[in-house]
């Protein structure tokens, strides 16, 4: 390192120790966002809820956050994201249990698993290491017999693909999403948001969710809104329509001469208050 860098946004988690040893200060904090996996309801095996649940149980979210992200992420459970209304730190949906997942998959008629594909983004913006994520998930799925190939796309193409709906042959896509409000759910889980009108890209169709979201929007008190959102969360979890994976930490490494840096509460960082001494 030749001293050319003053600040690195979202450095690779593996480089943090090295950057600290080079005299950079790390600033980190969680962001109001979550990485959910979209599941494609149009794929034959995934039409069975047991298969989707088995997939959710196959993925070691704790391990990913702890080892792959080296603690720069928290495992995420439930579609309600950290920083948004109704988020509950103690909530757990499908616990990691590959053995039970394998049994469930066999019960659904896939004792030898099946073949599918993961369409993944190579990252952009706040996403780092997304390829390693995909490989981790690929390995977790392989453990219960699901053989998945990975195809990586640049972020622009990836969002276009998500907007068009997950293509046939692909079971999963993933991007980070989440806001300090809950309106993003209207764009992602509501049946009115199926492509091309929204990002319900896996064609999850549950009218109950639509009704609950509508009610939550006009809920008279925050308490009622939260209780309705919890209901949404529980149904999504029961249907295993999405698999939330983790909430990333926003990490910045900077030289000590950079002052005045404030972590943004939502997804985008505010660089206007940063100055170099």
């Amino acid at each position: 390192m030749t001293g050319e860098i003053d600040m690195i946004a979202t450095p690779s988690p593996d480089s943090l120790e090295y950057l600290e040893s080079q005299g950079l200060t790390l600033v980190q904090g969680p962001v109001a966002t979550v990485y959910p996996i979209w599941l494609n309801f149009n794929e034959e095996p995934l039409k069975d809820v047991r298969v989707r649940r088995a997939m959710a149980m196959a993925i070691d979210r704790e391990g990913m956050a702890k080892f792959l992200r080296r603690g720069t992420a928290q495992p995420a459970y439930g579609i309600l994201n950290f920083g948004g209304p109704g988020w509950d730190p103690d909530y757990r949906d499908h616990p990691y249990d590959p053995e039970a997942a394998k049994a469930l998959l066999a019960e659904a008629g896939y004792p030898d698993g099946f073949e599918t594909r993961l369409d993944w983004t190579m990252g952009g913006g706040g996403d780092v290491n997304t390829r390693a994520d995909a490989e981790w998930i690929q390995r977790d799925l392989a453990r219960i017999g699901i053989t998945a190939t990975i195809e990586l796309f640049d972020n622009g193409t990836y969002w276009d693909m998500l907007a068009k709906g997950i293509r046939p042959g692909t079971c999963c896509m993933q991007v980070s999403w989440g806001e300090t409000g809950f309106f993003w759910l209207d764009l992602v889980v509501a049946s009115s948001a199926m492509p091309p009108s929204g990002f319900n890209s896996g064609y999850y169709d549950n009218p109950e969710i639509d009704a609950l979201l509508a009610k939550a929007r006009s809920a008279p008190t925050e308490e009622e809104m939260v209780s309705l959102l919890h209901h949404v969360r529980d149904i999504v979890a029961e249907d295993a329509a999405f698999i939330p994976v983790y909430t990333p930490m926003q990490v910045y490494a900077m030289r000590p001469n950079v002052k005045g840096f404030v972590l943004a509460p939502q997804h985008w960082a505010d660089y206007t208050s940063v100055f170099k001494e």
Binding site: D14, S15, Y18, E135, W136, R139, A142
Partner: protein, 302 residues
């Protein structure tokens, strides 16, 4: 990348009798023995991967991610997913060798009939050679990248691309050797005596065309191993999580800062494999064709 000298042995008519002594002469050549030994070691360890590898190729211990060589139970360390590098080296060796060797063999097998026919039927030969000439206008690696990029990633497409790229060189070698033969008196005699053409080509001429083809295949092997691994390195060949040395070098690039062994170890294996191939290739060439030395001719080679 090393020199695939397309003219290796091309200017010579080979004496079939001489090739009998080849094996003996190879064994008396120190660098050939070294190359063969190294090759045997790599092929052997790759073939024995399942019983001798300490872990499965995709078995991961994420808690030990990126730990270096010498970590307990992991002689060569672990990669970015927490997989054992030694085990992946052993399992990946086979595919690394295969993606280098298979295109060379397949290209030679296709080139023999094409080259023989091109030498026998002059007009057809001219067409075939002109078509091949166009492909010489590309640097080999570049043409392979072009073909593989459009075919899409995957091991089979990688092999297809490499065969296509190698074919023109192999056809030219066969054609040059065969063109030498067809004008010899013994061929004329066979023709006059009414021997069927296929018999003349594949029974009588083939044994004399085989040695330069083998020489060429051996000398080009090392550079095809590098090209194949290079395409996988670019993401155009073998796909993760399959273990293959080029893929492994590429995977280690993102953690080079903190865990250089993830890239360095597979690259070292690759280098040793190529050294072995080049030692054997040079020795085979010297044994079969001592006259091919530095006398390269540009018009023959580009």
């Amino acid at each position: 990348m090393t020199l695939p000298s397309a003219d290796a042995g091309s200017s010579n008519s080979f004496d079939a009798r001489r090739s009998r002594g080849i094996f003996r002469s190879l064994l008396s050549d120190k660098s050939a023995v070294l190359g063969l030994g190294l090759l045997a070691l790599i092929v052997g360890s790759a073939a024995l991967a399942p019983p001798i590898a300490p872990y499965g190729p995709n078995e991961a211990n994420p808690a030990l991610r990126l730990m270096g060589p010498g970590t307990e139970g992991h002689l060569l360390g672990l990669d970015h997913q927490g997989r054992d590098v030694l085990s992946r080296m052993l399992y990946g060796g086979g595919l690394t060798i295969l993606t280098g060797l298979a295109p060379v063999v397949v290209a030679a097998l296709i080139a023999v009939p094409l080259g023989l026919v091109a030498a026998w039927v002059r007009p057809a030969g001219a067409v075939i050679l002109r078509l091949m000439d166009v492909l010489f206008a590309f640097p080999m690696a570049l043409l392979a990248i072009l073909v593989a990029a459009f075919l899409g990633p995957g091991t089979l497409n990688l092999l297809t691309a490499l065969v296509l790229v190698l074919l023109p060189y192999a056809v030219r070698v066969v054609h040059q050797a065969a063109a030498h033969e067809v004008v010899l008196p013994y061929v004329e005699a066979l023709r006059v005596s009414g021997t069927p053409v296929w018999k003349i080509l594949f029974v009588e001429i083939l044994p004399n065309v085989a040695p330069p083809t083998i020489v060429y295949s051996c000398t080009v092997l090392g550079s095809i191993v590098i090209t194949a691994a290079g395409l996988s390195f670019l993401g155009l060949g073998v796909q993760p999580p399959i273990a293959e040395w080029g893929v492994m070098v590429s995977e280690g690039r993102s953690v080079l800062f903190v865990a250089p062994h993830v890239s360095v170890v597979p690259g070292l294996g690759l280098t040793l494999l190529v050294i072995a191939c080049n030692l054997v290739g040079d020795s085979v060439r010297d044994a079969l064709d001592p006259r091919t030395r530095a006398t390269l001719n540009l018009s023959d080679n580009v």
